[in-house]
Symmetry: C2
Subunit: 216 residues, 2 copies
DNA sequence: GCTCTTGTTGAACAACTGTTCAACACCGTG
DNA sequence: CACGGTGTTGAACAGTTGTTCAACAAGAGC
């Protein structure tokens, strides 16, 4: 019988490196996002994630308990990243509320957000939302934060101009609806309109917020 | 050995009823939509569809060739139904272009469209769109028709008023974006705003189309 | 250098998936 | 009333899936 190379005690290079739980979780999270973006949800299996993270299949459930928990964590991560990205651009701009709203709009049509492979990740999360309460909770929390930022900017903008034809709440719902709708349609079919046209349309809405008469 | 009841030739009630290909296809299509709505895409398997249609597993591939073809057919069916529903309401209203646009908006926020379980079906189709060219083609075709209806109504509306601050194309993209965005957000979290508020916001956009100065 | 904790492995498992196809049986035709 | 074509069946197939867990081994503490 030949010797089993796998159990050869003279081996010098370690077969794996031990990491702390936090480190491993981060690695698995990033691998999950890459898989969802690259392969789509359908094909994002535990085995695909494990391979992407250069890790064995068993480790995923060891660190996250279940695939659902891992995906929920990935959702929270991606939502946080995008909101922080937009907030950072708004903060960098500074200036009047009007200027910062424009920065918010421009950030919403930047390549970081207008990313079709990222869109596939969102579709995945939304699909899971109906069944997984954990994911639904993450959505509620993240989306509330997103709209709150908009609402405060709009309230400030209306104070600057002294005109307010729509309540900040309604105006924010309208703007986020427009931004999300254009984002959705662009991701589904990018030939329909350009990001610049999207910015123009959103700016038009912004003007509505302080100019148009209330709808009858 | 006991007799096998399944091959008992004295059986009186037929085990199945033969149908034409068109009839079977229709039955399978409806069963597929019910499954997607009830179970979500993940759980919508050939076996689930077959059971829902009271039919054996083999019949699905016999009539549609593959699961993908069946789902694409279901997409086309559901998209057609919704667009026709909206167009019918617009036609029933008649009157000025302005009135018909309002009818379009009201129809878009009616329970037929604002249906969370229907939303799950759309998510399914969008998810598959990235991989399945057949589904992508159906989307392009149906969505183009949707926007064309809006564009023509808006052009007519602008002729009525004699004012046009946005091109019909841009105005239609903006309105469909707003409608879709609000629809998306409502389906994900219905507590955020009421359908009536959605109608108000969309009507506000309509006013923009003939009143607001072009965006700088 | 040894021990011990514990992060890591991967074969095994049960439950699914879409697809195939030979056998079956319904029902119009002769 | 028997024939035959064809719509229908469902077991079988070759994959896949998420999860489990006994065995392993890395690397810190002594």
């Amino acid at each position: 019988m030949s010797e089993d190379i796998r159990t050869d005690p003279s081996r010098k290079t370690p077969r794996y490196a031990r990491k702390t739980a936090d480190q491993r979780r981060e690695v698995l999270l990033q691998a999950t996002l890459r898989c969802i973006v690259r392969l789509g949800v359908e094909k994002t299996s535990i085995r695909a994630i494990a391979e992407e993270a250069d890790v064995s299949v068993g480790l995923v459930n060891h660190h996250f308990g279940s695939k659902e928990a891992l995906v929920a964590a990935a959702y929270r991560h991606i939502a946080d990243t995008l909101l922080h990205e937009i907030e950072a651009r708004v903060a960098d701009t500074g200036g009047s509320a009007r200027d910062r709203l424009s920065a918010f709009i421009r950030a919403s049509f930047s390549p970081v957000v207008l990313d079709r492979s990222l869109f596939r990740a969102w579709l995945a999360f939304w699909t899971l939302q109906a069944q997984a309460p954990e994911i639904s909770a993450v959505h509620k929390e993240r989306y509330g934060a997103y709209r709150k930022v908009l609402e405060e900017l709009i309230a400030e903008f209306q104070q600057e101009t002294g005109v307010a034809t729509l309540s900040p709440r309604m105006a924010a719902i309208g703007l986020s609806g427009l931004l999300d709708g254009l984002w959705l349609e662009w991701c589904l079919e990018p030939e329909t309109f350009s990001p610049e046209e999207g910015i123009t349309l959103s700016e038009t809405w912004l003007r509505t917020v302080v100019e148009a008469r209330p709808a009858g």
